[in-house]
């Protein structure tokens, strides 16, 4: 496990929170195995072995035969850092429970199915860098007005305005707090652009949110 990560005890990620991605997958989600589109936020955890820091290398994953996997991808999200115990809060009061904001990258195998928990794709060691720091909540007037960009080797590959999220930051905090009590230092990655960015061994990945910072990591295996 990487020491000194910014996250404490739990990193909850929200999948399928990009409106255009949901629209594009509408037909798929009406078929088996899904049968109908999701009615609640689609959530997954990045467990503690995945947590990583700004500037660090992200391991290139191996398959079960010990060979390098053929492809990996990255998404980047605003990370909402919980400031105090958050239990069954309303959407209206949800942002009062936020201590600050950071950036979360989710390196994974390419997303192919959302049917079963994607342990093989998402739980890779060092695959969730968080940082570069936590900026205080009062420095961000409206978290839903931010845009998350990803640059790979200096070239912009993705720009995701959080206004395009299906559910807002406040709605997600509220919804999640009715499932589980959140504790100080726990982080919610509220949404990723539907199109994950393909990455290659040795790539330098920068995820940026204006006012929050730039999180920089390099893929291993080169």
């Amino acid at each position: 496990m990487t020491a000194n990560t910014l996250v404490n005890s739990k990193l909850v990620c929200v999948a399928l929170n990009d409106k255009s991605q949901l629209a594009a997958l509408q037909d798929t989600f009406n078929e088996a195995p899904y049968k109908k589109p999701p009615t609640e936020p689609v959530l997954y955890y990045k467990p503690r072995n995945t947590w990583n820091v700004d500037g660090a290398q992200v391991e290139w994953a191996k398959d079960f035969d010990g060979n390098d996997v053929p492809a990996m991808a990255v998404g980047a999200s605003l990370g909402v850092v919980i400031g105090r115990e958050t239990c069954r809060v309303s959407q209206a009061e949800a942002l009062d429970f936020v201590r600050g904001y950071t950036i979360v990258c989710d390196f994974s195998l390419p997303e192919e199915s959302y049917f079963r928990p994607d342990i093989k794709g998402k739980c890779l060691d060092t695959s969730a860098p968080i940082g570069p720091e936590i900026v205080p909540a009062d420095t961000i007037a409206d978290p839903d007005a931010l845009t998350v960009t990803i640059h790979v080797n200096g070239e912009q590959k993705s720009a995701f305005p959080l206004a395009d999220m299906e559910r807002s930051v406040a709605e997600l905090i509220s919804k999640i707090s009715w499932i589980m009590t959140l504790k100080p230092g726990e982080i919610i990655a509220v949404g990723f652009a539907g199109d994950r960015v393909p990455v290659a061994r040795g790539d330098r990945v920068e995820a940026t949110i204006e006012g929050v910072g730039t999180l920089t990591n390099t893929l291993g295996g080169a």
Binding site: L43, Y45, F115
Partner: protein, 260 residues
């Protein structure tokens, strides 16, 4: 030896329990209390819980019961410490649901870090065993990362304990009777021999994906025989030679109190 965490006479204690049920603290103090005493408040037995891996559909008869083909690869999902509670504590039934069931499961506690662990070496990484009750709220199932967090990550719905039994004290973990009683009546009666993916397989499988760390736990799934639970019910999950875990079901209102 067995290991537990309790509150006794106002103090939070890590205790060892020997074969004669003698209870001692780390500084050697022997506690003058019986294990079934109401003076003991049982806490979840793992002091610093890490990642909790749980298995779905890992007994063939239970998979059939839920109208699924037994899986060819483990169905693993993750839980965190917010779900944990101890022996003789309460779990809640959400309002306005139709079906909440218990799942009596054998838990393997990881004792040392490892990656790419071979099946034949896997047991060296297991510190001990306990019992958990991995409750599910079936009304909340959706076909996205199923079983989704709304079903499986709720506060208090993973009672565990009362204690960890050292691995070397359990002779045959692959052949233990597993029973659940609801209000004194047996509703689930199986054996760990019917597990599809056993502990060495699961340790190898998970450690090929990621590093396992001390404090991580693997809840190995439940056999056939799940029934609905209502507030006021008492459920006892027992695995032979490990322990018996008792839980009382309360309403959502009673559980959350002022926060309801």
């Amino acid at each position: 030896m067995r290991h537990a965490r309790i509150i006794f006479e106002g103090r939070e204690l890590d205790i060892d329990i020997d074969a004669n049920d003698r209870t001692t603290t780390p500084d050697g103090q022997e506690l003058d209390v019986a294990l079934d005493s109401d003076d003991i408040t049982w806490l979840p037995p793992v002091k610093e819980p890490g990642t909790i891996f749980a298995l779905g559909l890992n007994y063939a008869d239970h998979a059939t019961e839920l109208a699924f083909e037994p899986p060819k690869e483990p169905l693993v999902f993750i839980k965190h410490a917010n779900t944990l509670t101890g022996h003789k504590q309460v779990s809640y039934r959400p309002d306005n649901i139709e079906f909440q069931h218990y799942e009596c499961e054998l838990v393997a506690l990881i004792g040392k870090a490892g990656k790419n662990i071979k099946r034949e070496d896997a047991m060296d990484y297991v510190a001990g065993y306990t019992v958990c009750n991995d409750f599910a709220i079936r009304d909340y199932l959706e076909n996205y990362y199923r079983p989704n967090l709304r079903v499986k990550s709720r506060d208090s719905l993973l009672p565990m304990g009362p204690w960890i039994v050292d691995r070397e004290d359990v002779a045959d973990v692959k052949n233990l009777r597993l029973t659940t009683e609801v209000n004194g009546k047996i509703t689930q009666d199986g054996s760990t021999k019917d597990m599809i993916f056993d502990i060495p397989f699961l340790v190898e499988y998970l450690s090929q994906i990621m590093t396992l760390n001390p404090g991580d736990m693997i809840a190995t799934g439940t056999p056939h025989g799940v029934v609905d639970m209502q507030p006021g019910d008492t459920v006892v999950c027992t695995i032979e030679n490990i322990c018996s875990l008792e839980t009382r079901i309360v309403s959502e209102k009673e559980y959350y109190g002022d926060k309801y």
